[in-house]
Subunit: 116 residues, 4 copies
């Protein structure tokens, strides 16, 4: 399945339930935050090392997968409602960041490091 | 470009800069929240109606596109580090939600409506 | 009860349970985000008008009170662990914002309006 | 200064600038999330140990103080607009949590530990 396919499924899902009325950008961005926070909750008391091993527990791993799917779902829905092309937007951002963070000056530095 | 292609670009971007050390799930989920909040900031004082028209202003529209790209970037990076397949996770979640929110009982209801 | 009294209660609560090991700033700020998102969830599908009337429903009002208390709790705990004086920090910020947002130039404007 | 004093200052600050129109709960909770995320950003790439030492750098410490003040400001404003008494809400929540997390069963356990 591709991103546009998933967006079509989500669009039909909302239309079938007459939920488009709730899916204005202001509401969808709040829902995105809420889902991102539900994902965050899984990691909040873990050490960084524990966070790297989170998928080794099957129940917790399934929980992570579901919350990641929820974040992706609202992000796709928001982009769809706004008419934003996700793949090209990210591809452009990566190109831009390659200029902003030159390899030599950025190596191993968290100080400079504020973005992807 | 596909999701796996974008993930490969982001993975190489991080590797080239020796940033894998920072990209543990606990940190990436924080970065995801921060980017989602930067997107939220654009909408916080807008009415729902204004939020629906946000792309009609070119400068603001470009800002929205960039912040959406940042959210997607960290979501792809997080999923990559965790080994989560994004497309199949979301496809499964949509199937699950179709059972959880039957069309007839869910129509037009925000009361029941707590998820996608 | 004053802010320092509440902070003392929370400090003892954590100490009694040997939870100080979890209460490092990085974790507490994540917990703060998570609680703020649980509060956000109550408002995400409401219109602005409905959001203003949220306390008129007793059950929902109680839910709002509890989530607000959770946000405050983690904010007090975080400030306590970091040694930040909350009242003086906010008083200084208000003074600063009075300069940043002069009454005449800021009146009724959401365009300029990005902070308190 | 007490919490009610600070709320009075914030209320007058908003009234003087005719900003009450923007200060509906739905908008204020978004602003709260955004400020909490700006605080989070300071900690996202730090190790837990580095996060505990964050105030030892004066510039960064001042940044932390300002972001904490912003979070508190919007929380006070939101509570004021909703008519929620912050101190009593938190005092009640602490009492409730003392029952939910008995000292003996909760000691040193992050597994059980999902709330304050």
């Amino acid at each position: 399945v591709s991103i546009p396919d998933l967006q079509r499924s989500l669009r039909e899902f909302a239309a079938d339930r007459d939920w488009e009325q709730f899916h204005v950008p202001k509401n969808l961005v709040m829902a995105l935050m809420v889902e991102a926070a539900e994902l965050t909750e899984i990691f909040q008391w873990l050490t960084p090392e524990q966070s790297s091993a989170v998928m080794s527990d099957p129940a917790r791993g399934e929980h992570v997968r579901e919350e990641i799917a929820d974040v992706l779902g609202y992000l796709l829905r928001l982009a769809d409602v706004l008419g934003v092309d996700l793949e090209s937007s990210l591809a452009e951002k990566i190109t831009k960041n390659a200029v902003k963070y030159p390899v030599e000056r950025s190596r191993g530095s968290a100080a400079k490091y504020t973005e992807l």
